[in-house]
């Protein structure tokens, strides 16, 4: 079932992009959440994507041996908090600074664009494979 395993390969790609989208959305959503002085608040997250090693052929088809992406881990990013001078803020520290999670809106938006494009490309791949499958099923149909 060569074509079927290609569908699941594209589905794996879609899953990875969706996970990246979720994490980027969470980072953006929590970007303006102040962290009270002396406490730990939201830490921006990153998705670590890995792919399975190309396995040797052992009975299966070559299609099912191809590298398949998966979400290996979701880990906190190594960014320092964004410090904003807001002396009247209840969460401000002794010097009047409020800590916000170190989310960079520009890079996050850029990530969202590439995620969207990659998701579309995976969908397109899925669609093309589906049309090949359909065409194969139709062999001899008009006889």
């Amino acid at each position: 079932m060569g074509l079927m395993s290609i569908l699941s390969l594209s589905t794996a790609g879609l899953g990875v992009e969706r996970a990246r989208l979720e994490v980027s959305a969470a980072n953006l959503a929590n970007a303006q959440t102040p962290v009270a002085a002396g406490q730990t608040g939201y830490e921006p997250l990153a998705v670590l994507v890995r792919s399975t090693a190309m396995s040797e052929l052992s009975g299966g088809t070559l299609e099912s041996a191809l590298p398949r992406p998966f979400v290996s881990e979701i880990v906190p990013m190594k960014t320092s908090p964004r410090r904003v001078y807001e002396p009247g803020h209840p969460d401000a520290d002794a010097k009047g600074y409020v800590n916000y999670p170190g989310v960079d809106p520009v890079t996050t938006m850029l990530d969202l664009i590439t995620i969207s494009r990659s998701y579309e490309a995976n969908l397109k791949a899925f669609d093309i494979t589906r049309s090949l499958l359909q065409r194969t099923i139709d062999i001899g149909g008009q006889a």
Partner: protein, 122 residues
């Protein structure tokens, strides 16, 4: 499998290669954001033309061995990164090739059917 007709055997080999191509392009697209992923490609045409040269004048009983030697292989692509637009374009091109092959397959089957039915419309 289709020892009855080498054309059908050739077409089904090429269909297999096309399916593998689609899989490889899908893998490249799916892994576009995987760090360290090496894009792959399929080489098939060289093995096909080598077999075509070997088939030329080969005795009938050697044909099936030559046909068996046609195998697509997956190799690392020259480029180190995946270009999404290129991969989707290649995929569309491959889909058209697949469509052509399926049509050729159906026509060859039609000829066989014609022979089986002695030219009468079944």
């Amino acid at each position: 499998m289709f020892s009855i007709d080498p054309t059908l055997a050739l077409i089904s080999r090429d269909l297999d290669a096309c399916t593998l191509r689609q899989a490889v392009y899908a893998s490249n697209v799916a892994n576009v954001n995987t760090p360290g992923y090496q894009p792959l490609e399929v080489s098939f045409e060289a093995s096909l033309s080598a077999a075509a040269r070997a088939l030329n004048g080969a005795p009938i009983d050697a044909q099936s061995d030559i046909l068996d030697s046609i195998r697509p292989t997956v190799t690392p692509a020259a480029a180190a990164t995946v270009e999404l637009d290129q991969q989707v374009g290649l995929m569309a091109q491959n889909a058209i090739h697949y469509e052509t092959l399926v049509n050729a397959f159906e026509r060859s089957m039609g000829l066989l059917r014609l022979a089986i039915l002695e030219g009468k419309n079944g």
